[in-house]
């Protein structure tokens, strides 16, 4: 398990990560447009900051945009 090792060795990252995870779990996933767009913004930022490579960016972007299309199509159907 990730936390067991990291807490002794690492700075404090593991713990923050855990706090983050807990609050994430409280929120629903994959529902609304706003959240997906936010995900895309995060991804763009990671790319801008050279945290991920171009192929990785492209792959994730496609996945997010497909989901965004799906959600907006569903919404249009409802109207």
């Amino acid at each position: 398990m990730f936390l067991i090792d990291s807490i002794l060795l690492a700075p404090l990252k593991g713990i923050v990560w855990m706090g983050q995870k807990l609050s994430d779990m409280a929120q629903e996933e994959l529902s609304d447009e706003g959240r997906i767009k936010e995900e895309l913004m995060r991804l763009q930022l990671q790319f801008e900051l050279d945290e991920i490579s171009q192929p990785e960016y492209d792959r994730k972007e496609k996945e997010i945009l497909d989901r965004l299309d799906f959600v907006t199509n569903e919404r249009e159907k409802e109207i």
Binding site: P11, M18, G19, L45
Partner: protein
Amino acid sequence: METATKEGKYIYCVIDSNQPQSFGPLGIGGRGDQLHTICFNDISAVVSDAPMKKYRVSRENSLAHEMAIEKVMTEYTALPVRFATVAEDQEKVRRILTREYDKFREMLNDVRGKVELGLKAMFQENAVYKDILERYGNIRLLKEKLAQCTPEKSHYERVQVGKMVEEALQTEKEIVKADILSVLEPLAAEVKINDTYGELMIVNAAFFVEKKREADFDQQIQKLDDKYAGKARFKYVGSLPPFNFVSIRINTEDY
């Protein structure tokens, strides 16, 4: 299955020029469509031929949109039009210009001579956590104590420390953010603070700055970068189209 997509005019921006002219094959979609003007009075829309379809907000499309406007901005004052605005034909674009002329004119006057500058500041991961451990005695003590317990027995405390670190990080961010803004805000005509992403980002802001103060602004950023060397890093992008301060939303169905 596939039906032919109708061709329309993708609108990038509105500029204060009445010259019929072309800005190169920079149209969205990678077909090499020419960017060109459609004029009314002393203003023009910069457009390219493009299919009337849904445009995904992919990096490729966003960049094409942005680069087209940047190209035009090297010569003219430009009002960016919202991404993926496509009108049926030239006549429709002209109708939009005609009907919104006064508004566009006023906005152009307002934007003239200013540039958008973007700044993101992020804590350096290792440095900031080390700093927090050094300066927040209660966190350090609790962490040392926890190091001697098994995770199973100290689950609650671990979450507790996590919360304390998040709070400390938040406090540190607020302090640095206030410092950065106190230096830069007075140099800008307008400031827009955007959402931050991830746990390390301190500030994500756009500044609308008079061109004559741009050098001064650059210098202040340089000073901040020196001041926070090793602690925070800055990502500074210059002379952008004023996306954060003007964005024309045109509902093409209304014209």
